[in-house]
Each structure stands twice: as structure tokens, then as C-alpha cells.
């Protein structure tokens, strides 16, 4: 494992060096750029706008880091590239990380981009779901894989999960609009945005507002990296923090940059702008205002551990390691 790690690292560094040379960046090499990769959890979109700003404005390059942003996708789990060393940091979520750790992966959570979990129950105004109690007797469209999420929400709010009719659907707003279901379990930042862009108003009930405390878009790295590549981790996270602060200051500029950086991704600027504003309340809170982007407290971790227990994923506070973030924020 260790030997592969260094072999891959060597290859990656070599490739980046070649790339830099061919781009005529020769003199910059005096600064000895280290090539690392950040594995994203989904296709390129403004969901990762802060990272694009860090890349575009050279926040990482100044710190001697050449960061490759690796696209995710529907069949691209984040954990294997991080374990194998292809990516230094991956973007995961507390429940996925807990599951991976239970299977023996040596991960720690280094930072939390989404303080509030983005899961919502989305419905139409004529037949709205405003509280968990409204779910009783409704048909909810979701992936069966998310059954534990619904169960946890029901347990937290004293709702009988058997009184909800679960209809397995593909991840799309289409079944809701076609009247096949009364509501959907989805993210605040994707399907409701898609409906809004089609001129359809929707009602969203954020699970995080009803006791479902679960860190999302978390930064994960291996114990090995934390021990042996600390400086790179600090530099990468420092760039992320600066990038996301800039993102918050001007979400439209982040959306513009995203569309410009990925002209082949089929992104639509108005959609990206709306998505960019919708994820701000999930990412920034009083806690991050006081301590900086990505932060967590013992209380939020305790609440996460409770939710994870309901999801059948018992963990200890050791899953979170704030030392990198403390170095970044100079705490």
C-alpha cells in the first residue's frame, strides 16, 4: 500500500511537471510545485465553486501546490481514489465516511463544507409537505438506498414511517411533476432548482431543520496523509477556505467562473447562479462566522453522532480531526 502510494505520487508529480513545462511555466518550477488532487463528489458545477475560485486566483499555486480537481459522477465513489492515493483529499459526507471507516478505511474528516445537510423533502404548493407530520399518507419518490434517511427523520419526529408510501424512482423531479408521487427526497440545491428553472414553484422542507444533523460535503483524508503530508493538507484546505470566502462574497462571479471553466459540461448560467445562492445558507452559519469556513464544534459533532446512530452507523468523535483546520485558521 505504502509503496503504491509513493509510486503513484511520483507518477503524478512527473506528469504535472511535464504539463507545467509544456505550458511554458518553466521559471515557476523554482518554487517546486507539488502535484496533488482533490476528488470531487459529483460532476463539475457551482457546487464546487469555492474550489474553482481557489484554482483560478492561484491560492494554491502561491502555496506551492498544483491541485487537479477530479470530477465525480454517478458511478464514481470518492473513497477508493483517496485510499489509493490518487487524490489527497476527497469530498464525501459524514454517513458515507462512517460507512467506509466501518469497512476499514483509515479516514478522518478534516473540514465541513455543508454545515446543514442538503437533503429536503420537495413538494408542490397545492399539496405541500411543510413538516414531517405532513408526510403521513403521502407517496414519496426516492431511491430505496435512502430508506435509512427517511427512517431517521421519522424517528426524530415521532412519525410512523409505515404510514408513508415509498415509491422507488430515479433521481429526477419528473415523477413529482407527472403526479406519480406527492413529494421527493432530494437535495435542496439540485431538483428544486431544476423545477424553478422550468417555472415550477416547489416547497422544500430541509431535513436539517427537523433534527437531521449530518455534515455534508466533508473533506476527508487518510491517517497516512495526515501524518506524512501535513503541509500539503494545510495548503489545500487554506486555499479552499479562501476560495469559499470569496464565493460567499460574490456567488454570481462563482457561477460565471464555473460556466467559463467548464464550457463542455453543459452548464446553464442562470441555473448555476440560483444553485450558488441556494447553497450559501447551508454552508455558512454563526459557527463558521465565529471560527471560519469548514469549522465544527463538539456540540455539532455530538448531534452528528446521534443522527449517525439512527442511520445504523455508530462512530466516535475521533472520526473528526480539526488539527488541519486549526492550523489554517491559526486557532
Amino acid at each position: 500500500m505504502t509503496s503504491t502510494f509513493s509510486r503513484r505520487r511520483l507518477l503524478a508529480t512527473g506528469a504535472a511537471g511535464l504539463g507545467a513545462a509544456s505550458l511554458g511555466l518553466g521559471p515557476r518550477r523554482a518554487q517546486a510545485q507539488t502535484a496533488v488532487a482533490l476528488q470531487l463528489s459529483w460532476l463539475h458545477s457551482v457546487q464546487f465553486g469555492g474550489s474553482y475560485i481557489a484554482q483560478d486566483r492561484g491560492f494554491w499555486r502561491e502555496a506551492g501546490l498544483e491541485v487537479a480537481l477530479l470530477s465525480g459522477g454517478p458511478n464514481a465513489p470518492v473513497e477508493p481514489p483517496v485510499v489509493s492515493g490518487t487524490a489527497l483529499i476527497g469530498i464525501s459526507a459524514a454517513d458515507y465516511t462512517a460507512a467506509a471507516v466501518a469497512q476499514g478505511a483509515p479516514f478522518k474528516i478534516l473540514g465541513v463544507a455543508m454545515q446543514k445537510n442538503p437533503f429536503v423533502v420537495a413538494s408542490l404548493p397545492v399539496n405541500p409537505v411543510n413538516t414531517p407530520a405532513d408526510l403521513v399518507g403521502k407517496r414519496i419518490g426516492m431511491a430505496l438506498a435512502n430508506m435509512p434517511v427517511l427512517q431517521a427523520l421519522c424517528t426524530l419526529n415521532g412519525v410512523d414511517v409505515a404510514a408513508i408510501e415509498v415509491i422507488p424512482t430515479q433521481y429526477s423531479a419528473q415523477p413529482l411533476l407527472a403526479g406519480e408521487v406527492d413529494c421527493l427526497l432530494c437535495w435542496e440545491t439540485d431538483l428544486p432548482v431544476a423545477m424553478a428553472m422550468q417555472g415550477v414553484d416547489s416547497v422544500t422542507m430541509l431535513l436539517a431543520d427537523h433534527g437531521y444533523a449530518l455534515h455534508s460535503q466533508t473533506y476527508i483524508a487518510t491517517d497516512d496523509s495526515i501524518a506524512n503530508h501535513r503541509a500539503d493538507l494545510v495548503a489545500l484546505m487554506a486555499g479552499e477556505v479562501r476560495g469559499w470566502d470569496a464565493y460567499r462574497a460574490d456567488t454570481d462571479a462563482a457561477a460565471d467562473l464555473t460556466v467559463r471553466m467548464f464550457p463542455d459540461a453543459g452548464l446553464d448560467l442562470p441555473t448555476q447562479k440560483l444553485q450558488a445562492t441556494r447553497q450559501v445558507p447551508l454552508m455558512f452559519s454563526d459557527l463558521t462566522d465565529a471560527n471560519g469556513f469548514g469549522w465544527w464544534s463538539d456540540e455539532t459533532v455530538a448531534a452528528n453522532i446521534e443522527t449517525l446512530a439512527l442511520l445504523g452507523r455508530p462512530v466516535t468523535p475521533d472520526l473528526w480531526d480539526r488539527s488541519i483546520l486549526e492550523e489554517v485558521h491559526g486557532a
Binding site: M1, S3, T4, R7, A12, A37, L43, H44, A68, L70, S71, G72, G73, P74, N75, A76, P77, E79, P80, P81, V83, S84, T86, Y96, A99, A100, A102, Q103, G104, A105, A143, L144, A145, I167, P168, T169, Q170, Y171, S172, A173, Q174, L177, A178, E180, D190, L191, A194, M195, M197, Q198, F262, P263, D264, A265, G266, L267, D268, T271
Partner: protein, 525 residues
């Protein structure tokens, strides 16, 4: 019009084709308008507008995906040629070669995609290799059939010139195999494109697959159907281009195979059992060796021992097995009827076209289009029309199975020996008599080859549909296991699915051997 002509000139009925196309577009436009509130189907007019407004974006995505599909198509078919050559020059190896090829083909995309991505890192290789994996087997099997579709007298001729096996391969077998090779290539063309698109799901930055995901999530129905239309048009174009090449190359009528060539070394008893043991052994060593060589972490790259542990020794092994078999049972309910329906529909339509050749211009483009529309796009529409019950999934599996069977059977019917047909005609035998006495027996080897290679294809289809649309069965279990890092479950599922595919393949082979003993003994050499 002879049978061969039907096969070789699918679109010659120009008027009928034009009429079919107009009728099809009118039907499509009407259906889309009727369903306008449902966000599932865009009208052709909307599709045209979208393509016109986004030609640059679509063109770049198409160039990327088509490039990967083409390289994968080339690599996959070269691999098939190489494997077929080994199997023919060294007949003893055939059981092992086809067995290993089958096992690799049975590996589910849902599981191989992410592993290829970790193996190769960012870049085009997972897309290219998934395209290659999607095609090599559907070429290999018809090719092996073709390499044996040779009259014994031709070998006698080679021997009388004092030449050996190599000359026989180059001058006799290769020529006899060409029509079968083209059948395989025509089936492979849409499969390569689909493979490259699904490969993009593993973390590609651009391409048709990436745009398809984006369009579906964004409820952008015109964009979704514009992508599907472009993919379909490309697949049809590739099919027709290969057909055109085939027509240029294949000028002679098929030969009469009246007497089987001598059996090259009668098969020892229990040879099949031995082959299975060898294949299993080689597969286990390759599996273990490749992962060790690459130094992949046991966290996600499970070795044979890990899977044995998870399925047999671990304290929760019984629970793992129960989950796995419950999912398999759910899948079987869709898989078996879909597979059989696809076979019957494919063979039936091929026979119908021979009896009523005028239909070819009408049916062929529709059949190709049906198979070429990416399953990723059609799944929600079929589910909407047929409900989320079993029917939708069964139909999707049948569609995937139908097309390779149809093409193989058409080519098989085209293999009816010309002289025998002349004899039948001179006795004023009608088209039905010619079909029953010559056509269908000539079709049998191709039909069974299709039935065999469709076992894994059907499993591929059902797992993709379960993964992307219905969220049930083994396909969904594999996707879920990957996202929850339950790699013991994922690898166990891969092993069981591959083993069951191989068993299904073997079962079809037994039926085939009984039938071919009567109709095409040269295939049993």
C-alpha cells in the same frame, strides 16, 4: 429479392423507408404533445431547435464520446480476432478462451467502472475500456461460428496443396468467417457507444454521457432527447456504414456444407469439466495477481480470499448470502421473461422479413433505432408508459436482447446456401417451404450464438435499469454497496453474477448442442 439481399441492403426500400420515417416522426410529435406536462418526451421539432441552438456543445461532446467509442470498438474487436485465432489454431484451448472471455464479459459495469477509474486515474481509459468490453464478446462468438462454417472439401483442397493449419486459417476459415464478423461488428457498433457513455459516469469531464446526466437532472427534456437522437443517429450511421462495407466485401453466395469436416480430435469425456476448472483457476490467479501487481488497497480491491471469507467464513456470511440471493431473486423475475421475449421477438422479426421482404425498409430503421437509443434515456419513458412494475424492466431487457438476436438471425438466414435455394426454387417450393427446410436450419447456429451471447447482455441490461431507474434487485444492490463502501458485498455480487451468467451460457450451450447435431454438425467439431 434473395435472403442475402435482404440482409445486405436493409435500406433499399427507399420509398417504404421514407414513408416509415415520416409516419414515425408524426407519431413522435403527437405523442410528445400529448405528454407535454409529464416532462418525459420532447417533440422532434423541439429536438431540432435544441440541436440547432447548441450545435457547438453537442458537436464537442459527440467528438469526445465517439472518439472513445471508436478506439474501444477497435481494441475490443482486435482482441476478439486475436482470441478467435488462438481458439482455431489451437482447438484444445477454445473452451478455456471462450470461458475466460465470457467471465470478463459478465463483469457488471456498475462494479468495473469505478475500479478502472482508480486503476487509470483521470483520463479517457475507463471510457475506452468499457466500450471495448462491451463489444469484444459479441464479435468473438459469431466469429468462432463463422470460422467453422466451412465445407470439409475446402480443407481437403488445402491439404492436397500440402499446406497446413495456418493456410487453412488464412485462406479458408478467415474468408468463411467474414460474413459472421460483419454481423458481430454491426451488433457491436451501438454497444461501443453505450459503453463509452456509461464509462463517462465514472468521473469524466465531458462527453455525451456527462451531458445526459446533466440534462435529466435539470429536467431539460429537449436536451435529453436531442442527446438521445444524436446518439441514435450515430449508431444507425455506423450500422449502415458497416453494412455497406459488408456488401462490398461479401459478393459470393454462401457455400453448401453437406458433410461435416472431420472432427479435429474427438473430445475427451469430461473435457468440459476440465475446461471449467482451468477457467476458474486462471480467473482466480488473474484476479488476485492483477490486484496485487497494481498494489490496490484491500479496502476496495477485494481478493478471492476476501470474497470467500465474506460469503462463507465470516460471522455475518449467512446474512450477506441472504441479501445477495434476495436481490438475485428480484432480478430473475425481470430477467428471464425479458430474455426469452427478446429472443423470440428477434428471431420472429428476422423470419418475418424473409417472408415479406418489402417490410425491410420499414422495419430495419425502426429496429436499429430502438436498440440504439441509449437505455439511460429510454428507461424513464418506458417506466412512465408501462408503470414501475415488472413490465417496464422486462421490456427494456427484451429490447437489449432483441436487436443482437435479430441481426444475427438475419445474417443466419442469409447464410442459406445458394445452390440449395436454387434447387428448391427449381422444384417450385414456396417461400415458406424454403424457409422451413433451408432458411431456419441455416439460421440455427447464428440464433444459438445470439442466445448465448445475450445471456450476459441481458444481465447487463437488467442491472443498468435497476441501477438507474427502478432501484431494485442486484443492480441496485451493487450500486448501493459501492456508495456505502461495502466492497465485500460488491465483489461477492460480481462473483455470483458472473458465475450465474456462465451457468446460463452453459445451459443454452447444452440445448444448442442437441439442435445443431442435427442441423449444423460442422459447428460441433
Amino acid at each position: 429479392m434473395t435472403m442475402a439481399a435482404v440482409v445486405a441492403a436493409p435500406a433499399r426500400g427507399g420509398f417504404a423507408t421514407a414513408l416509415a420515417l415520416i409516419g414515425f416522426l408524426a407519431l413522435w410529435e403527437t405523442a410528445a404533445r400529448g405528454l407535454s406536462g409529464a416532462y418525459v418526451l420532447a417533440a422532434p421539432s423541439e429536438v431540432v431547435v435544441y440541436i440547432a441552438n447548441n450545435a457547438g456543445l453537442l458537436g464537442r461532446a459527440l467528438a469526445v464520446t465517439l472518439g472513445h467509442a471508436a478506439v474501444g470498438f477497435l481494441l475490443g474487436n482486435l482482441a476478439a480476432l486475436g482470441l478467435a485465432a488462438v481458439a482455431v489454431v489451437w482447438p484444445r484451448s477454445q473452451g478455456v478462451v471462450t470461458g475466460l472471455a465470457l467471465l470478463v464479459f459478465c463483469l457488471p459495469l456498475v462494479a468495473t467502472g469505478p475500479i478502472l477509474r482508480v486503476f487509470f486515474g483521470p483520463g479517457p481509459w475507463p471510457q475506452i475500456l468499457l466500450a471495448a468490453l462491451a463489444v469484444y464478446y459479441t464479435t468473438l462468438i459469431p466469429l468462432l461460428v463463422g470460422l467453422r462454417a466451412v465445407p470439409a472439401s475446402w480443407f481437403d483442397l488445402v491439404r492436397s496443396y500440402g499446406r497446413g493449419r495456418w493456410s487453412a486459417l488464412v485462406h479458408v476459415r478467415a474468408v468463411a468467417a467474414l460474413p459472421y464478423l460483419f454481423a458481430g461488428l454491426q451488433i457491436a457498433a451501438p454497444a461501443a457507444f453505450l459503453g463509452a457513455m456509461v464509462g463517462e459516469f465514472t468521473g469524466a469531464e465531458r462527453g455525451m454521457g456527462v451531458l445526459t446526466i446533466r440534462a435529466m437532472r435539470a429536467l431539460d427534456v429537449p436536451m435529453t432527447w436531442a442527446l438521445a437522437s444524436v446518439a441514435t443517429a450515430v449508431a444507425i450511421a455506423a450500422y449502415l456504414a458497416l453494412g455497406w462495407v459488408a456488401r462490398r466485401v461479401l459478393r459470393d453466395d454462401p457455400p453448401v456444407i453437406l458433410a461435416a469436416p472431420p472432427l479435429a480430435g474427438a473430445r475427451r469425456p469430461f473435457a468440459a469439466v476440465g475446461d471449467i476448472a482451468i477457467v476458474t483457476g486462471i480467473a482466480l490467479v488473474l484476479w488476485w495477481g492483477a490486484l496485487e501487481w497494481a498494489g490496490l488497497s484491500r479496502f476496495f480491491a477485494k481478493r478471492p480470499a476476501d470474497v470467500f471469507e465474506a460469503l462463507v467464513l465470516a460471522p455475518d456470511a449467512a446474512a450477506t448470502r441472504a441479501t445477495l440471493f434476495a436481490a438475485l431473486a428480484e432480478t430473475a423475475v425481470f430477467l428471464v421473461p425479458g430474455y426469452l421475449a427478446g429472443l423470440v421477438a428477434g428471431a420472429g422479426l428476422a423470419i418475418l422479413l424473409v417472408l415479406v421482404p418489402g417490410l425491410a425498409g420499414l422495419v430495419m430503421p425502426l429496429a436499429i433505432a430502438l436498440r440504439s437509443v441509449p437505455i439511460v434515456t429510454t428507461a424513464p419513458l418506458v417506466v412512465l408508459l408501462l408503470g414501475r412494475g415488472a413490465v417496464g424492466t422486462v421490456v427494456l431487457v427484451a429490447v437489449m436482447v432483441f436487436f443482437p438476436t435479430f441481426v444475427a438471425c438475419l445474417h443466419g438466414l442469409g447464410r442459406a446456401p445458394g445452390q440449395v435455394m436454387d434447387v428448391m426454387r427449381s422444384y417450385a417450393a414456396g417461400p415458406v417451404a424454403r424457409l422451413v427446410r433451408v432458411g431456419i436450419p441455416a439460421m440455427a447456429p447464428a440464433f444459438f450464438a445470439a442466445a448465448r451471447m445475450n445471456v450476459p447482455a441481458a444481465i447487463l441490461a437488467v442491472t443498468v435499469v435497476e441501477w438507474l431507474a427502478t432501484g431494485k434487485g442486484i443492480g441496485s444492490l451493487m450500486a448501493l454497496s459501492a456508495s456505502l463502501s461495502d466492497y465485500n458485498m460488491l465483489w461477492s455480487a460480481v462473483v455470483i453474477v458472473s458465475a450465474l451468467s456462465a451457468l446460463g451460457y452453459g445451459a443454452v450451450g447444452l440445448v444448442e448442442a442437441r439442435v445443431l447435431r442435427t442441423y449444423a454438425p460442422e459447428q460441433l467439431a
